[in-house]
């Protein structure tokens, strides 16, 4: 079948980019300054933490699982850092501790899922309850991080000037972009990354090929825990506070970003870079509604739901088409 020059597996990703460009063009046509660098950098800055979380979620989905604990882990790390920083601990050390805690948490989930064959949905659901409840144990209300030297250094020094109008690329934006590059290379070029695809596509076949399925799964959930904790750190720097109520339902945004990014929720199909465009589309819809001014915010949810639906239908169609061709 050489007739199709454009491989069908690129279609969802191409559709994501097309949707992104379409929404962006819609904004530029309707509003002055929508296309400015300032708006784009703002978009990146406001969604960096979601992007980092979406990288972890994307990896888990590619392996055929699901992670519902993302939002709760972000809240937990935020509260932990804020509490420790409030007690006089160095914020950098607090962040390292939170990162270790999140990674360990992810690893535990992975062991339960891979070694004991428990459904990922239930284990990460339990993980969500656990992390959310633990963050309430640390503090029942929001804790601000005021005048913390480490965070001030991060805010004021670790940034790159973009253009000559005083615009900057902040630390968490760079963190996100760097992590994205690493994740893309990891998933495309390393053995471990390709194993994730194999496990997600067909676990049985992967086992028969001699791929260490359990170890791959534990790695995936460990990395997802790491990403969630890192997203928590980014969110803490972004808001300069920790709140046990933060990011309720964020896991669904991360999953939606992956779906809009052209990832098949059954696993094995999709590209890490897709999550980037998925996150940007989610962010753009919000920016667009903000620019419009007279549309109510709840339309965001409805539009996101509709977009998810469109992508699901498209994926379904492609799967059916390629199945037919195989037969």
């Amino acid at each position: 079948m050489k007739r199709l020059r454009f491989p069908v597996r690129y279609v969802p990703f191409a559709a994501t980019v097309a949707v992104f460009l379409l929404v962006y063009a819609l904004g530029i046509c309707n509003f002055r300054n929508f296309g400015s660098l300032r708006v784009f950098l703002g978009l990146l800055h406001d969604n960096a933490y979601l992007g980092i979380a979406a990288i972890g979620a994307e990896m888990v989905i590619l392996s055929g699982g699901i992670d519902l604990s993302v939002g709760a882990v972000i809240a937990f790390t935020g509260v932990l850092i804020a509490k420790l920083a409030g007690c006089g601990v160095n914020a950098g050390a607090a962040m390292a501790l939170a990162l270790a805690a999140g990674t360990l948490f992810g690893a535990l989930q992975g062991v339960l899922i891979a070694r004991y064959r428990l459904p990922p949905f239930l284990v990460t659901l339990g993980g969500m309850f656990f992390a959310r409840g633990s963050s309430y144990m640390i503090s029942e209300e929001a804790i601000g991080i005021l005048n913390n030297p480490v965070i001030m250094v991060i805010e004021d020094r670790l940034q790159i000037a973009v253009g000559n109008r005083g615009l900057t690329l902040e630390f968490i934006d760079m963190l996100y972009l760097a992590l994205l590059v690493i994740a893309v290379v990891f998933m495309q070029k390393t053995t471990a990354g390709r194993r994730v695809y194999a496990v997600g596509e067909n676990e049985q076949a992967a086992t028969l090929m001699g791929i260490p399925v359990a170890r791959t799964k534990v790695m995936v959930y460990t990395l997802a825990g790491f990403c969630s904790a890192l997203a928590g750190i980014a969110f803490t720097i972004y808001l300069k506070s920790g709140n046990p109520l933060n990011c309720i339902g964020l896991e669904m945004d991360a999953i939606a970003a992956a779906v809009i990014g052209g990832t098949l929720l059954t696993g094995g199909v999709g590209y890490m870079i897709g999550s980037f465009f998925g996150v940007l589309v989610l962010g753009l819809i919000q920016v667009l509604i903000m620019f419009q001014g007279n549309i109510n915010s709840w339309w965001t949810r409805i539009i996101v739901g509709a977009l998810v639906l469109v992508f699901i239908f498209m994926q379904n169609l492609i799967t059916q088409l390629s199945n037919r061709r195989r037969i």
């Binding site: 699901i66 339960l112 070694r115 004991y116 064959r117 428990l118 459904p119 949905f121 239930l122 284990v123 659901l125 339990g126 993980g127 969500m128 309850f129 656990f130 959310r132 409840g133 633990s134 309430y136 144990m137 029942e140 046990p244 309720i248 669904m252 999953i255 939606a256 779906v259 929720l265 059954t266 109510n296 915010s297 709840w298 339309w299 965001t300 949810r301 409805i302 996101v304 739901g305 509709a306 998810v308 639906l309 699901i312 239908f313 379904n316």
Partner: protein
């Protein structure tokens, strides 16, 4: 104290009977856990079992609280059990609850003149219209989920994700973004009223349970549902209308979510599109799994789901009674999830029994 001892004795007897009979084996673990929890209460907090009668003829006390507040989860779990028995899952029930509550509240606050139809009492007509509209949108939502899953063949978790994301937006669209409060005595009776000394919600939950249990166990429907969960293709070849029945389970689930949504909004006399039923889909799935229904489908136990709902609420009420912050309850809940899942996991059981056997063998050697 006497009541507590009596209840625990009855439960322990039930556990014993369940272990003996092949019909009730699935109830063994949840009921054991429930008995143990109540036993802990009996020892450390005997006041937990005090049930008193108010002057209006209502019972109140922690046990009645458990019955009352477990009913939302129980109602959701009834529908979820059927959906999960076909191998599906519905993660949108929380959002559907918000939609149905929003719809009922919007209808009930309309001017009463609009309901002056056929010479009937406008208040009663308004109440009927509110309940009917709330349930209708919920059933429509269930039908939509059924359309996506069984009609279009989309993976259930993905298909219901759509409504889960968009549902709260739709609910806000209905309420126009505000929290609608109402003061209708009839509508608030659903969530706050009492009937024959017990909370009305309990009656709703257990009546629904009885109806669905009769419908599935005394007709072939339950068998069909289990057969679809085991092997959909084989069931279709055997002449079972697999698509239609799967669709039906989602519709029943939508109806259950609608009832639960009415209870929640009636209980607090307002419709909160953002928080009504938040995370309740997870509780419902949890109650169902604790009750022995497998997530991969093929077998279901409605009575187990009811026991699961009671267990979850007992943990919560115990925490309240011991002055634990409600938000922290998530932690013991998580531990219950993991422990119950581990107990049901074959791998874990094998490892455990191997360890026990090895221990026994060493003793013999010594």
């Amino acid at each position: 104290m006497l009541i507590g001892g009596f209840i625990i004795a009855v439960l322990a007897g039930l556990v014993f009977l369940c272990g003996k009979s092949s019909h009730g084996r699935h109830l063994r673990w949840p009921l054991t856990a429930l008995t143990l929890l109540l036993l802990i209460n009996l020892i450390f907090k005997p006041g937990f079992f005090t049930v008193e009668m108010t002057s209006d003829g209502y019972l109140y006390g922690s046990l009645i609280d458990i019955l009352n507040h477990s009913s939302k989860t129980a109602i959701l779990a009834i529908g979820m059990t059927l959906v999960m028995a076909t191998g599906g899952i519905d993660i949108s029930v929380g959002s559907v609850m918000a939609i149905s509550g929003a719809m009922a509240a919007t209808v009930i606050v309309m001017p009463k003149e609009r309901f002056a139809l056929w010479g009937l009492d406008p208040a009663a007509v308004a109440f009927g219209a509110a309940v009917l509209c709330g349930l209708l949108v919920a059933v429509a939502a269930g039908a939509w989920n059924g359309f996506l899953t069984s009609g279009c063949g989309i993976q259930p978790m993905v298909a219901t994700l759509v409504l889960m994301v968009a549902g709260r937006g739709i609910a806000q669209l209905i309420t126009d973004g505000t929290i609608i409060t109402f003061d209708d005595p009839l509508l608030s009776f659903i969530g706050n009223g009492h009937l024959l000394t017990l909370p009305f919600t309990t009656w709703i939950a257990w009546t629904l349970f009885a109806i669905v249990a009769l419908l599935t166990r005394k007709t072939a429907l339950g068998l069909f549902v289990e057969s679809i969960g085991n092997n959909e293709t084989a069931s279709r070849y055997a002449g079972i209308e697999a698509r239609g029945i799967k669709w039906l389970t989602y519709i029943i689930n939508g109806f259950c979510a609608g009832v639960a949504g009415l209870i929640v909004s009636s209980n607090i006399k307002c419709a909160d599109a953002n928080h009504a039923g938040l995370y309740l889909e997870l509780d419902a799935i949890l109650a169902t799994v604790i009750g022995g229904t497998s997530m991969s489908g093929g077998r279901f136990y409605l009575s187990g789901s009811m026991a699961g709902a009671l267990l979850i609420q007992t943990v919560a009420t115990m925490m309240y009674a011991n002055d634990v912050n409600p938000a922290v309850i998530a932690v013991p809940k998580a531990l219950v999830v993991i422990v119950v899942c581990l107990l049901q996991s074959d791998v874990f059981r094998q490892k455990l029994s191997r360890r026990f056997h090895r221990g026994a063998a060493q003793e013999v050697d010594a």
